[in-house]
């Protein structure tokens, strides 16, 4: 229980920091929007083509955005050395990870919910028919991105060339998330959407595996 209450307090801190400036969210939204616009030049964005390429395009944009958005996650703590203070304030260091990954999932989900209608209008792909299901897929995908991304941002923050390193470490690791989320989204964007239980189950498996790994090994990443 102490873990949960600690996490809640830390999550509040993360959210307050972000919503005071909204720097991260604004930049990420604009970044994804840029990619979505630029992608329209690489293929013929007719309705049929968009149905085929849209989901992949969207998730690739989310992946890139996540690998940039997760950058300051631990770096911010380093600049003022607030990390050691954080570590002293909680019993279980896993709470720090939980709070950060919950915040990141929330931020990612928020940008996705904001950008989904924009994507839908620009590429003529109706999304309203399966909106709740899409949100579920996006939540599971964002959770996968955040769990691995938060862990790896703690790793890359301790290395040189960290800005380049994080995408390099993270993107190959996210192959399963990219495939599962793209396929799940694709089956919801067709004319008669079907619930992609298989892929949702897969995403759940991914999230559980890496959450467990983070729970087991995360604390070592925060050692002095």
């Amino acid at each position: 229980m102490a873990l949960l209450s600690n996490t809640a307090v830390l999550l509040g801190k993360e959210l307050r920091t972000e919503f005071r400036s909204r720097e991260l969210l604004t930049t990420t939204v604009v970044f994804i929007l840029t990619i979505v616009v630029l992608f329209s030049f690489t293929f013929d964005p007719s309705v049929n083509e968009s149905r085929r390429f849209g989901p992949g395009l969207l998730w690739l944009a989310f992946l890139f955005a996540a690998s940039l958005m997760l950058q300051p996650c631990f770096l911010r703590e380093q600049t003022n050395d607030t990390l050691s203070a954080l570590r002293l304030s909680v019993n279980d260091p896993f709470a720090i990870f939980l709070a950060k990954l919950a915040a990141n999932t929330l931020f990612l989900l928020l940008t996705q919910v904001l950008l989904l209608p924009v994507f839908s209008i620009l590429y003529n792909v109706p999304v309203l028919g399966a909106f709740p299901q899409l949100i579920l897929v996006m939540f599971m995908g964002s959770l996968g991105l955040s769990v691995t991304g938060t862990a790896l941002s703690a790793i890359s923050a301790q290395a040189r060339m960290r800005e380049l390193l994080l995408p390099l470490l993270l993107l190959p690791l996210l192959t399963p998330v990219l495939i599962a989320s793209t396929e799940a989204t694709a089956s919801l964007l067709v004319l008669n959407p079907i619930m992609p239980w298989k892929w949702l189950g897969f995403l759940l498996g991914f999230d559980v595996v890496f959450l467990t790994a983070l729970w087991l090994f995360g604390e070592y990443l925060l050692e002095e």
Binding site: L165, L173, A213, Y220, E223
Partner: protein
């Protein structure tokens, strides 16, 4: 030094035997012809690459729990050797695929997995070059190594599920299953040989890493003096 040269010589001789067996002893495959002989180098390389990455994973786990530098040395050695085998796998594959399938590459489950593996362990080795402090480097790269290895079954599973939904341009026959007895013997001989080669290379690379550790301790000693 003498012992080392002797071991190296034994490895070279074994590898020559293996090459001879693959090129002359094994019968020519009826459908594919001569080109099938690449299989004896190609398939065991893949198995041994996976084995090396598993050794790396074990080293990573052991390092996290014991914090003994030797496990870190094992981890990096196995990862590098695994990369050598993985590179052989990736390069010999297209040479076989081109005459048989008519294309150099296809995004089949196994091919894609190999490529992702290659990328994952390149990142692992790259990460190691970007951290100065040896203890820190050992710890964070070990944790990345653990994450990377956990990802392997997930990558494979996702690609398989995904590709079975779509029709494939080429279907790979079940290799290794219905092998003719002589072919099977040559195949397992190759596998054994490559495992020996792997152990030899990991051992050599480990010795190098151990020497690096020695240099560091000497330097520390010199600073203290």
């Amino acid at each position: 030094m003498k012992k080392r040269i002797l071991i190296a010589a034994v490895v070279v001789i074994l590898m020559s035997f293996a090459a001879y067996a693959a090129l002359f002893v094994a019968p020519t495959e009826s459908k594919m012809g001569t080109i099938q002989r690449i299989f004896y180098l190609h398939a065991p390389s893949g198995m041994v690459a996976l084995l090396s990455f598993f050794v790396c994973f074990v080293g990573n786990l052991a390092y996290v729990f014991t914090r003994k530098p030797k496990w870190d040395w094992l981890g990096v050695s196995a990862a590098e050797v695994g990369m050598a085998f993985c590179t052989v796998l990736i390069l010999t594959g297209p040479i076989w695929a081109h005459p048989v399938w008519g294309i150099w590459w296809t995004w089949d489950a196994r091919l894609t997995l190999t490529f992702v593996l290659w990328l994952l362990y390149t990142s692992y080795l790259l990460l190691r070059t970007l951290v100065e402090d040896p203890d820190r480097r050992a710890l964070i790269s070990a944790i990345y190594g653990i994450f990377a290895f956990l990802d392997v079954p997930l990558v494979y599973g996702s690609i398989r599920w995904w590709r079975t939904q779509h029709p494939q341009p080429v279907i790979m026959g079940g290799s290794g299953s219905g092998l003719e007895p002589t072919m099977a013997r040559v195949f397992w001989f190759w596998f054994l040989n490559l495992v020996i080669l792997m152990i030899f290379l990991i051992h050599e690379r480990y010795a190098l890493e151990a020497m690096r550790g020695e240099v560091q301790s000497i330097e520390r000693e010199a600073e203290a003096a």
